[in-house]
């Protein structure tokens, strides 16, 4: 099966800073998703992005499928952005493989 690796594992920012989270995957994937897990444990789907670039407010994501990586950009970070960010990719069409996540802490 595919391997999904995320970096950095931990990130500490001051409010207002920008950040880039990276996701590498070991094989061609048909589906790449980014999730945010808030400090209360709730998992929220941020992006479905098998290729190209998408933006949603202060967050944007880019996937370069031919080079097997995806990036999540957070601009002007806020304390509410804190939590763990996961990328996940499908294999066998219906099973998601998750990376181990990037833990983000944003301080005021």
């Amino acid at each position: 099966g595919i391997q999904v690796e995320q970096s950095p594992p931990d990130l500490i920012l001051q409010e207002g800073a920008n950040s880039t989270l990276r996701c590498n995957f070991s094989d061609s994937v048909n589906n790449l998703q980014w999730f945010h897990q808030n400090p209360w444990g709730q998992l929220i789907n941020l992006f479905y992005i098998p290729s190209g670039t998408k933006q949603n407010g202060r967050l944007s994501a880019t996937t370069v499928a031919t080079e097997r990586y995806s990036l999540l950009y957070i601009s002007s970070s806020q304390t509410t952005d804190s939590g763990v960010y996961f990328c996940a990719a499908y294999y066998n069409t219906d099973k998601l493989i998750f990376g181990t996540g990037t833990r983000l802490q944003v301080f005021p």
Partner: protein, 113 residues
Amino acid sequence: DAGITQSPRHKVTETGTPVTLRCHQTENHRYMYWYRQDPGHGLRLIHYSYGVKDTDKGEVSDGYSVSRSKTEDFLLTLESATSSQTSVYFCAITSDRAPDTQYFGPGTRLTVL
């Protein structure tokens, strides 16, 4: 909100006891999933279902069984709980309107003493 609830939300049990976790959805989605989340491992798929009575194993299925007798309910059973099954368990669905996107329930924290 994809209308997913999990019960119980918290449970403490003893080694060797059977445990059943329930995932309930209100929108008749075909695909449902059970994951466990552990520090250092992210989320790992236990079992999934692609319809009533249609289930398959994920990457960490040993020690777990599932059943889906109705579209809206997907049950995860630990026949004889072990301390290694202490974890947070998440249910997820794939929306028929957005088949490439998964939506998660609130999670169940299970502690096996």
